[in-house]
C-alpha cells in the first residue's frame, strides 16, 4: 500500500509556525535543510571535517485492510518524527526532504558515527515497522562528506540512491533481518546465492583452494587494517576455538594501535588466550565451533566470509562485499550474544 500525501499536508508537517523551527521545535522544512546543509558543507570543507546525511524513506504500509485516511497518515508521520527527534542528538538537524522522506544532518559525524545513529533509529522505530495497524516499511540510508560526495546535494543524492542498493541487497531481498545469526549463516552457506557482491566457493579436499586459505585471508584482512590504522572499523574473526596458535596472531601482535576494533571469537566458556591488539570472545555455544566466519566493516570496505564443513575435509564458503549484509550480520551477532555494540 503506497503512502502518498499531497503538498498541502507536507506543508502542514513542516510549516506549523512562522519561524521554520516548527513541529516539536526541532523539525525543519526542506528549504531550511537545503540552506543549512550548504552551510555545513562549507564549514566542513574549510575545516576539514566530516558530516553525514541520513535519509529515512517510508516505503509503504505492509498491512491494513484499507488505505489509511489522510488524518491517520498525518498522525502516523507526526509520531514517527517525534520518535526520530528523541533519538537524534541536540546538534543534529532533522527535517523534511520530500514526500515520504525525512532527512537528518549529522554535523562532524563520520561513516561509523552515522551508522550508530541508524542503529538507534532502527531500534526506536521498531514499533512502527513491526507492529501497528498498519505498520510501515521504513528504509534508512546514509552518505558521508567527503568520503561519498563533494557537496551537500551530492551527499543527499548518494543517500537517496543507496536505498536502491539496500533493496538489491540480499539482507532485504531474503528478509534476513527477521532471522537469527545462525539461521542466516545456514541460509547463506546453502549455496545458490550469486551476484556481483556475492559468491560461493569450495575449500579443502578436491577444491582449488585449501582450508589454509581461510587463515591466509584473515591474515590479509588484519594486514589491511594495519595499512590504514587511522581508519575506523570493526572486525570479528570466528575461528571455531580460540587457541595460542591461530595463524593471524602474529599479524595481530605487530598491528599497533588502530581505529579498528578486532575480536576473536571461539567456542568455550572462557579462554586464557590473549591477543595483543584484539579482544577474545569465548562463547558457550557449540554452533560457534561449527563454522569459520569473518565479518569486516570499515570506512572503505566490507567483507563477509562464512564457511561450514560440507563433508569429509571439504568446506562450503559464502563470501560477500555487500556492506549492508556485513553490517546486518555484525548487528545480529552482537544482539544474539548480548555483546557490546561496536558500530
Amino acid at each position: 500500500m503506497d503512502l502518498n500525501l499531497d503538498q498541502e499536508s507536507i506543508d502542514k508537517l513542516t510549516k506549523l509556525d512562522e519561524s521554520k523551527k516548527n513541529f516539536e521545535s526541532r523539525f525543519y522544512d526542506s528549504e531550511f535543510m537545503g540552506e543549512f546543509g550548504k552551510l555545513e558543507n562549507a564549514r566542513s570543507e574549510r575545516y576539514g571535517l566530516h558530516y553525514s546525511v541520513v535519509v529515512l524513506t517510508v516505503e509503504s504500509f505492509q498491512n491494513g485492510s484499507v488505505t489509511p485516511e489522510k488524518e491517520e497518515l498525518m498522525k502516523f508521520l507526526k509520531l514517527l518524527i517525534t520518535t526520530i527527534l528523541t533519538v537524534v542528538r541536540n546538534c543534529d538537524v532533522t527535517g523534511m526532504l520530500e514526500n515520504k522522506k525525512v532527512m537528518i544532518l549529522l554535523p562532524q559525524t563520520d561513516y561509523f558515527g552515522s551508522l550508530i545513529t541508524i542503529k538507534k533509529l532502527t531500534r526506536a522505530l521498531e514499533p512502527f515497522t513491526t507492529k501497528g495497524e498498519p505498520y510501515a516499511s521504513i528504509i534508512v540510508s546514509q552518505a558521508t562528506f567527503p568520503k561519498d560526495a563533494f557537496n551537500f546535494n551530492g551527499a543527499v543524492g548518494i543517500a537517496s540512491n543507496r536505498i536502491g542498493s539496500m533493496k538489491d541487497s540480499i539482507w532485504e531481498k531474503l528478509d534476513l533481518k527477521s532471522k537469527l545469526f545462525w539461521e542466516i549463516v545456514a541460509k547463506l552457506t546453502e549455496g545458490g546465492i550469486e551476484g556481483s557482491a556475492y559468491s560461493t566457493f569450495d575449500l579443502g579436499d578436491g577444491a582449488d583452494l585449501e582450508y589454509s586459505f581461510i587463515n591466509r585471508l584473515n591474515e590479509v584482512i588484519v594486514e589491511e587494517v594495519a595499512r590504514s590504522p587511522e581508519k575506523r572499523g570493526v572486525l570479528y574473526i570466528g575461528s571455531r576455538k580460540i587457541t595460542e596458535d591461530l595463524p593471524f596472531k602474529n599479524q595481530l601482535n605487530m598491528l599497533g594501535k588502530t581505529g579498528t576494533k578486532i575480536f576473536v571469537v571461539g567456542e568455550g566458556k572462557e579462554t586464557n588466550v590473549e591477543f595483543k591488539n584484539a579482544t577474545s570472545i569465548p562463547i558457550d555455544d557449540p554452533r560457534v565451533a561449527s563454522a569459520d566466519f569473518t565479518l569486516y566493516l570499515s570506512e572503505d570496505a566490507a567483507y563477509t566470509l562464512l564457511s561450514k564443513e560440507a563433508w569429509g575435509n571439504s568446506f562450503l564458503c559464502f563470501h560477500s562485499s555487500d556492506p549492508f549484509l556485513t553490517e546486518g550480520l555484525i548487528t545480529k551477532f552482537q544482539r544474539d550474544y548480548h555483546l557490546q555494540e561496536q558500530l
Binding site: A197, S199, R227, G256, A301, H319
Partner: protein, 526 residues
Amino acid sequence: MITKSEDTILIALSNDKEINIFRDKVIDKGFKPLTTNDGSKAMELALKYVPSLIIVDMSLPTIDGERLFQILTHNPNVSNVPFMFVSEVVRDVKGFRINIDSFIARPFKWDEVMEKIKESMLYGDTVGQRLHKDIEGRLSQMALVDILQVLHFNKKEGELILSNNDQHGIVFMKDGQVYNAILGEVEKEKALYRLFTWKDGKFEFIPQRVTTPQKIELPTGNLMMEGMQQIDEFERDKDKFPNKSSILQLKVDSTSVPKGLKPIIYEVLFLIDYYPKVENLVDHCSFTDYDVYTTIIDLVGRGVVDVTEVSEDIEMAELHTFISPSDAIKIKEKVVNRWDDMLTSNYAKIFIVSVNPELANKFILSCKSIPDFVIDSKLISDNNSTRNLLGQMGVLKLYGGLDMVFFSLPTASAMGPLINALSSNLVGLILLWDDTKLEWGSVVEGLAVTKNEILHHRKVPFLGVYCGENELTDELKESYIKTMGIEDNPETLMTFDNKNDESVQDILKKFFDELIKDKNKGSVKV
C-alpha cells in the same frame, strides 16, 4: 635529504615573465629565490629545500596551487611554511591559515606585494618560528635525552624538530610519550636511537596536536634507557662490526635454518639476498642498528654468513634512482586525485594477477634490482601459499613517502567479493601470463574474467606481461589480445625477460607512465 633554507623563497608561477620579475625583486631584498613554472617541480623543491615562504600560482600545471598547499601542509617537514597565493581574483582556499597565509591578486601592486613578502619573512627566517615554540636551542647545549625528559615530565604534545647539516628528524610526542620518530626513510625506535647519537644540531619543539599513529609503544623512560644502552654498547663493539660498504653473502641455504630462533635472524637472513650491502641491510631491517650489527657478527661467527670488503666504485654505481622525484610526485598526485581521502594515506595498491604463482614469484623477485623495492619475505617464502598467492608481495618506496604495494590475488573462480573488498587505494593492475600449452585458452580466459571483475569495480590502468620462456609469437600475441579484448589498446602488452634486470624496470616504468597519463577517477562508492 631535506636541507632547511633560511631566507629562501620558492616562486612557483605559470608565467615565466612574472617569475623573472619576482626573482629580481626578491634578490633586491636580499632573499634567495627558487623558481619553477610546474606544480610537481615546486613540490620537489619545497620538500628538498624547505623555503621560508612559498609564492604559488593558483593555476599551475600538473599540481595547482591549492592542491600543492593541501599536500605540503600535510607534510610535517614543510607544514609550517607560509603560502602566498597568486591569482586573478581572491579565491577561497581550503585550509587557508589566517595570519599565516596571504593572497595577492593580479595585476600586482609591487609595493604591496613586497610589503606582504617582508611581513611573511618577518615572522621568522626558519621553519617553525611561525608557530609558538616552547623550547629551542642546540643539541651541543642540551642532549636529546634531556630534552625528551623535560617534555615527558611536562606531558607535552607536539613535534620536536631536529636538524643537523643536511639531515632532519622529527620526534612526535603526545601526553609526554614518544609516539614515533622519523629520520629520512627510517622511523620508530631505529630512527630515535640514531637521533640519540647526534652531538650537535638545532632543535625546536612546536606544541601542536599530533595525529600520527603511535608506532613506539615502549614507555618513554624505558625507551631512553634502552636507547642509551644500545648506543653505549655500539660504541664499545663498533670495531667488531663490518664496515658499511661491505657485502654479505649467505653460506648456507636459508630454508635449512632451524625454527624457533629470534625473529631478527630470519629477517636478516632473508634480507641478505636482496640487500647484500651492510649499509642497505641495516637501513631496511626493521630492528635497531645495534641489534642488526650484533646479529650480523653472530651469523658471521657461526659461519652462516660471509663478509667481503668492496671498493668505492661499485658503491657509486648503485647510486641511481628508479623513479625520478618529479615523476614520484606526479604519481602521488595521481593517487591523491583518484582517492579523495588519500591526503592522510601513504600507500597505493597494484594488483598482481598471474596465471600461475611461479610467474608472480619470478616477477617480484626480479624487482630486487630496483632501488627502494622491498620484497615481502612471508609470501615469497611461504610454501603454503604457492597454490593461490594472496597478499602483499613487495613494496616500492617512492620519493615523497608513498608506498606502492604489489598485492597478489588468487585466480581461483568466484573471488569477486574478495577482490572488491581488497581494492581500497587500488591504482593499477598487472596481469602475468605465459605460453603454458596445457589449457592455455581457459587459463587466459580466467585471467580476462579476473581483469574484467577488477575493472568493473575500479577503473584503473592495466598492463599485460608475457613471462613465457619462449619468444612471444605473433599468433600467441593475437590470441591473447583477442581473449583479453584489448584490440583497441594492444600496447598494454609487454614482455618480461627474467634474465635481464632491466626488463622488469622497463615494465614498471611503462606502468607508471600509464598511471601518470590516466585520466580516470576510478573510485567506486559502495
